[in-house]
Assembly symmetry: C2
Homo-oligomer: 357 residues x 2
């Protein structure tokens, strides 16, 4: 899912997202609640109407943002009090209010409010946080079952497994949520600084418990190689700011690894980002031109790199899906990774893969 934090996938138009085959995008409840507010979006006829995107939207619950962006957040069993990162004003999210906000946004997939532990945290903290998250999940489900969609289309609700890097807490969290019978499940609280191995171990523990017939969504992940690994563990959905954020900084992905297109080595390189890629950027522009746009700080550079990167990610997901259907996922994955790491790939700038701002 391309990330559209503030009711727009940064630099791109809805038309372009449709053209590259985006089936669903993500919006952020925390950001939209603060600006422009769910009441305005409600007046506009919902988020689809407001931003002119007719395909599905998933909205994050705001849980992650409250704990990472907002100031002075204070969790009680009733909910979480926080200060806006925009103007310092005080706000309160409860499991019920977050469902209510998402009803007004009109997203197709709503997420429950969860408490995200920081990494690292103690076992006691993870247990306590999971206790709150499970209580909130139950209350979210109640609110969901006792409220109606506002715009004539169904809305569904996904739960979020927490438990930090503690196997037993993850298992308890996943099992309790399966018991509540949600329409879909997310694995949260990962890609927050833990070792890569721990991320995959926790993902595996979750997908072993979460039903394979329901969608399983790994939140905020990640690099192409991470997606490919997680799909092998049973994950169906991802969101990540990497294609758009890295694109805006001049890093582009190719099947031979990522590269920093604004580097001097591309000064007179008149080949496209990826000669085999069918996206508008690769079909029409050279690395030399893209480098010029980035050096001259021209917005078209950010647009073309974002477009290409999302196209690359969506193509990667298409290929993975096909490999699964052809029953050759393991060999496809091996081939992809070998080619992707065949060149020394440039360094990705950072690992904070949530909130595209």
């Amino acid at each position: 899912m391309p990330v559209g934090t503030q009711a727009t996938v940064k630099t791109l138009s809805p038309d372009e997202l449709e053209q590259i085959g985006a089936q669903i995008i993500l919006g952020n409840t925390y950001h939209l609640y603060l600006r422009p507010g769910q009441e305005l979006i409600n007046q506009a006829g919902g988020l689809h109407q407001f931003m002119n995107w007719q395909r599905p939207i998933l909205t994050d619950s705001g849980g992650y943002q409250v704990f990472s962006l907002a100031d002075l957040n204070k969790v009680k069993i009733e909910g979480v009090r926080f200060q806006s990162h925009l103007d310092g004003s005080y706000h309160f999210f409860s499991p019920e209010s977050v469902v209510e906000i998402q009803r007004k946004l009109g997203s197709d997939i709503m997420m429950v409010l969860d408490e995200c532990t920081t990494y690292p945290c103690t076992l006691d903290q993870a247990i306590e946080s999971n206790r709150i998250t499970l209580d909130w999940a139950k209350r979210s489900l109640n609110e969901y079952l006792n409220s109606e969609p506002l715009y004539g289309h169904d809305q569904t609700l996904f739960a979020i497994v927490q438990g930090s890097t503690y196997e037993e807490v993850r298992r308890q969290s996943a099992a309790a949520l399966v018991e509540m019978d949600f329409p879909g499940y997310a694995v949260g609280g990962l890609s927050v600084g833990e070792p890569k191995q721990a991320m995959f171990e926790m993902t595996k523990i979750c997908t072993e418990i979460l039903p394979g017939k329901k969608p399983r969504y790994l939140m905020g992940v990640g690099k192409p190689e991470d997606l490919v690994e997680a799909i092998g563990l049973g994950i169906d959905m991802f969101d990540c700011v990497m294609p758009t954020r890295n694109g805006r900084k001049g890093t582009v992905f190719t099947r031979n690894g990522s590269l920093v297109v604004k580097n001097a080595s591309h000064k007179d390189d008149f080949s496209p980002i990826d000669p085999e890629c069918q996206c508008y950027a690769c079909q029409n522009f050279t690395r030399a031109y893209l480098r010029h746009l980035f050096k001259a700080e021209e917005i078209l550079g950010m647009r073309l790199a974002s477009l290409h990167n999302l196209y690359f990610y969506l193509e990667l997901m298409k290929q993975a899906r096909k490999a699964i259907l052809d029953d050759r996922y393991s060999s496809w994955k091996k081939e992809f990774l070998e080619q992707y790491f065949s060149n020394a790939s440039d360094i990705i700038e950072d690992n904070n893969t949530k909130n595209d701002s």
Copy 2:
């Protein structure tokens, strides 16, 4: 002509420019010479290839930029020495070198190097500056006639009338250039701070002398009402950064005047910028959404406002052309201006209408 200072019309793709019917765009020799350099553009196969724009391009000579942007410019009869505004490095433009650079850029319409007087200037300064400009025009024409295009398509060369706001100097300048028999003519040195009335008086003096069968181009003008007035005086071509620059700042043009779409008054205004406009922005998005994008500093807002404004300007030119062909230009102009000023229109931020940066 939409302004594409640095080999891109800011925020927009070549596809979008074609879709809104742009027939020709402008590039800036001064900017392209400094970055990425005409040698790199030559390696790319010319400016059309480099930026993937197949329709005509006019390149400004760099004269205006040398006198407005560069530091410590020093004019001699041989040419002008200046320091780059980017890194302070020293450079020298002569009439001959500027034609040579534009040969490498491969623009369809090249402009002669001219000396732009500041406003106000004394009569003596205007006379001396005109003397240099006429000498440079003759040398440019010689260089043009004794060099060849590099990319298999013809290039033409326009002269530039100077003379500040002195009628007699303008007349001498125009007559001498007509004598040299250029393929087209521009009126330069206006829209640089002089009163509006003086701008139109000088334009009229020029168009009375410049042949009506050749293209006449008023450089760096202007507001919609200025274009409409100048067309009445015989002008055929314009370039101006106003549609794109003002768009990026959140000011949009409508047939009922301009408006600042990011103003609070549009917070819950779910109508398009202009209900009668057929552009992508007006057909798909509301003022409320555009305001949100500007408040949230999202690039899509700048894109949509730039696209709409260029569409508005191009439509205005289409209508003016039709009115001329229908032999009803005066009445059309009156109707347009009455509607355009029917509401108190918002204030346009500034009057520096050259260099879109």
